[in-house]
């Protein structure tokens, strides 16, 4: 029999038992949908990871850290015990820049700051980089924004979620509790920026009750609580996105490092700049130390080599590539587990197919016998039934995939496109390969489920078949 004839026969047999075919297909639809949706969740996470990596310099950037300087958003501890202090200073930045395959290297300084506006108070995290460094960050700015160039006054780029860090002074409720955004237009309003957090706390507590404890500690500085300096700052840009949207830049405040350093030095002249290391006697060092250095490698294949040579210099090195690798392993696990859960329902569907095929063979015993007597080859009979089972699998796979896109869209809508789960981008992502693979699997499951029934049909004796009345 030609393939066309086999197809026609299988098709007409499926059409004959519409309800049963429908129910069997439904099983496959549910199985396929659960696999596809489950895996799409894992892939969504992976996608957001990739995007995060892309946003933080791609796979060719290396983050170099030494002894901690500046505040860290993710406070790392345990590195203090090292004897030879390895700090990131201008000299190191220069040295890194001369390494082979290094395209550029620039310093990063991170610190916690306080922003004031009217009755509102906001705690933010400042990330300062030279202009080229900010460029490399590939920060997507909302319209009209630009990156702050080096100048005498500070200009900030606010992350799109920074606005949610503001709350009314004296412990007002935050945006996350009330759902009402503070009445501040970050793009236009001038704000006060406080770099000296300790000083600010002191002045606050001094306003209220005591203020004596601190001054005693403060190297015998005799004057009482001094008013902290408030820097007037304006925005040069805002990161694109709604306050609820998450991305790698959403909660940072960026500024130009070359502008920040002189301001810090001026404000804290004679004192220790917050986050800077001190000598054993508590005095500040002469040099300014950075939180980390960002190194851009010219070739993706050289990243590991460059990272190793920096490591040998005694610094801690993080590359996105390494991060990605470790995460990928984790995601593979997650996807396998999620896919496995989905596979259970597809397995149940496979049993359904086998059952349907078995029944269909019992029902058609006579018919199978007759076509055998009429000279239909055993191979053709097997193919006919396998094709029927494959058909069920394929139809179920197609409908299941269509359904998956629908479910995926609903999940993404409910989770606010990932924002509710702390994801940058959709939580459920169905790439084209997943569609093709799941179609293939659905069809394969159909064929496998149909294999034994088909074999059985093939082995039916034509005589027994035509005798059945």
């Amino acid at each position: 029999m030609s393939w066309m004839d086999l197809l026609r026969m299988s098709g007409s047999n499926l059409k004959r038992r519409k309800l049963r075919t429908f129910l069997t297909v439904l099983g496959v639809v549910i199985g396929t949908t659960s696999i596809v949706v489950m895996i799409s969740l894992g892939l969504g996470m992976q996608q957001s990871l990739y995007r995060e990596v892309e946003q933080s310099g791609g796979l060719t950037s290396i983050r170099v850290t030494g002894e901690s300087a500046g505040d860290s958003m993710y406070s790392e501890s345990g590195s203090e015990s090292e004897d030879t202090a390895k700090y990131i200073d201008d000299e190191l930045i220069k040295t890194l820049g001369t390494l082979e395959h290094v395209e550029a290297s620039y310093p990063v300084y991170e610190m916690s700051v306080i922003l004031l506006k009217g009755g509102y108070e906001g705690y933010g995290f400042l990330k300062a980089m030279p202009y080229e460094g900010l460029m490399e960050e590939k920060i997507p700015l909302a319209e009209g924004g630009k990156l702050p160039a080096e100048s005498s006054s500070l200009e900030l780029v606010y992350g799109n979620a920074v606005i949610t860090d503001f709350q009314e002074k004296g412990g007002g409720e935050s945006y996350w509790e009330t759902g009402v955004l503070p009445n501040i237009d970050l793009a236009k309003d001038s704000l006060f920026l406080i770099l000296d957090q300790d000083g600010y706390y002191n002045s606050q507590s001094g306003d209220m009750d005591m203020g004596s404890d601190y001054s005693a500690e403060n190297d015998g500085e005799s004057q009482p609580v001094k008013q902290v300096k408030k820097h007037v700052v304006k925005a040069s840009g805002i990161v694109e996105g709604a306050p609820d949207d998450y991305n790698a830049h959403s909660s940072y405040i960026y500024c130009n490092l070359d502008t920040l350093v002189p301001i810090l030095k001026k404000e804290f002249s004679g004192r220790v700049i917050p986050g800077q290391p001190t000598t054993s006697s508590g005095k500040a060092y002469k040099d300014f130390y950075y939180s980390s250095a960002q190194v851009k490698v010219d070739d993706i294949d050289q990243v590991n080599e460059v990272a190793d040579s920096i490591r040998q210099m005694g610094y801690s090195v993080e590359t996105n590539a390494e991060y990605l690798q470790s995460m990928q392993k984790e995601f593979a696990m997650i996807e396998a587990v999620l896919g496995g859960i989905g596979a259970v329902s597809l397995f149940v569907a496979a049993i359904g197919i086998a059952n349907t095929m078995m029944m269909s063979i019992y029902e058609r015993t006579k018919e199978i016998g007759v076509i055998k007597v009429l000279g239909c080859s055993l191979k053709n009979i097997k193919q006919m039934f396998l094709m029927e089972a494959a058909f069920i699998g394929l139809i179920g796979g197609v409908i299941g995939n269509i359904f998956s896109f629908f479910v995926s869209a609903v999940i993404n809508a409910i989770t606010g496109h990932g924002a509710a789960m702390g994801f940058d981008g959709d939580i459920s992502y169905i790439p084209i390969w997943l569609v093709l693979v799941s179609l293939g699997i659905a069809m394969l499951v159909g064929i496998m489920a149909g294999y034994f029934p088909a074999k059985r049909a093939m082995q039916l004796s034509p005589l027994a078949a035509i005798r059945t009345e």
């Binding site: 004839d5 080859s377 035509i466």
Partner: protein, 240 residues
């Protein structure tokens, strides 16, 4: 004359519990090309068993069946199917048309097993239906036809592959006597026109008179072989 079927020393034993049933108990005969043979006997005499053996649907316990020069008792399932596809047409007692197909498609079905293209298949099937006087029922499904009409479709289906031999197990068993006569006449006409060998099982002695030769079988043995043809020629000679 060419021997199309040669049966030698054929036995078929069934074991039913402790008992052994001798369905065929040493059968020998030859059937020649273009002959119309009838196998008659009482119920349980072994007629169907013999026919199934000839068509390769069942394996003999002992003995040889040579059809068109091939020993079919030695063939495996796959070879038997191929053999049937190429040499044999089959007419069933209860028609066994496929319910999902109309008359033309049913007749065309055996051709599809031979990989005949669809348009050729349909054309041949339609010609066959014309031959069995079912011109008006080509698009009818089996449940829209009478028993006689269905059996005529069955005859057309057996003939469409142009087989060397046609086997029929009580082809009129489910039809009334009038329709039986019609179908018998049709079969006889078509078989003679196309010079086919037809082996038919029946328990109706009257219908057996349509055959050239009649094999009388009882308890698995051939009692006698009646030659109607000689008789008829003799009668014809007498009339002249």
């Amino acid at each position: 004359m060419e021997k199309v079927i040669q049966v030698r020393n054929l036995y078929k034993l069934y074991r039913v519990g402790e008992e052994i049933v001798r369905a065929l108990d040493g059968v020998d005969f030859d059937i020649f090309r273009g002959e119309f043979c009838a196998i008659v006997g009482t119920s349980g005499s072994g007629k169907s068993t013999l026919l199934n053996m000839l068509a390769g649907l069942e394996k003999p316990t002992k003995g040889n069946v040579v059809i068109a020069g091939e020993h079919i008792e030695k063939m495996n399932e796959e070879q038997l199917v191929k053999f049937r596809r190429e040499n044999v047409g089959f007419i069933f007692q209860s028609f066994h048309l496929l319910g999902t197909m109309n008359a033309v498609e049913n007749v065309a079905l055996p051709l599809s097993f031979r990989k005949v293209p669809r348009n050729v298949r349909i054309r041949k099937a339609e010609r066959m239906l014309d031959l069995v006087n079912l011109r008006k029922h080509k698009k009818h499904f089996p449940n829209q036809m009478s028993g006689g009409q269905q059996q005529r479709v069955g005859v057309a289906r057996a003939l469409v592959v142009n087989p060397k031999i046609i086997f029929a197990d009580e082809p009129t068993g489910n039809l009334d006597s009038h329709t039986s006569e019609e179908v018998m006449q049709l079969m006889k006409r078509v078989v003679k026109e196309q010079n086919k060998t037809l082996v038919m099982v029946t328990h109706d002695a009257h219908l057996a008179t349509y055959a050239d030769r009649v094999f009388h079988i009882s308890d698995g043995k051939i009692l006698k072989i009646e030659n109607n043809q000689k008789e008829r020629t003799r009668q014809n000679e007498e009339q002249e």
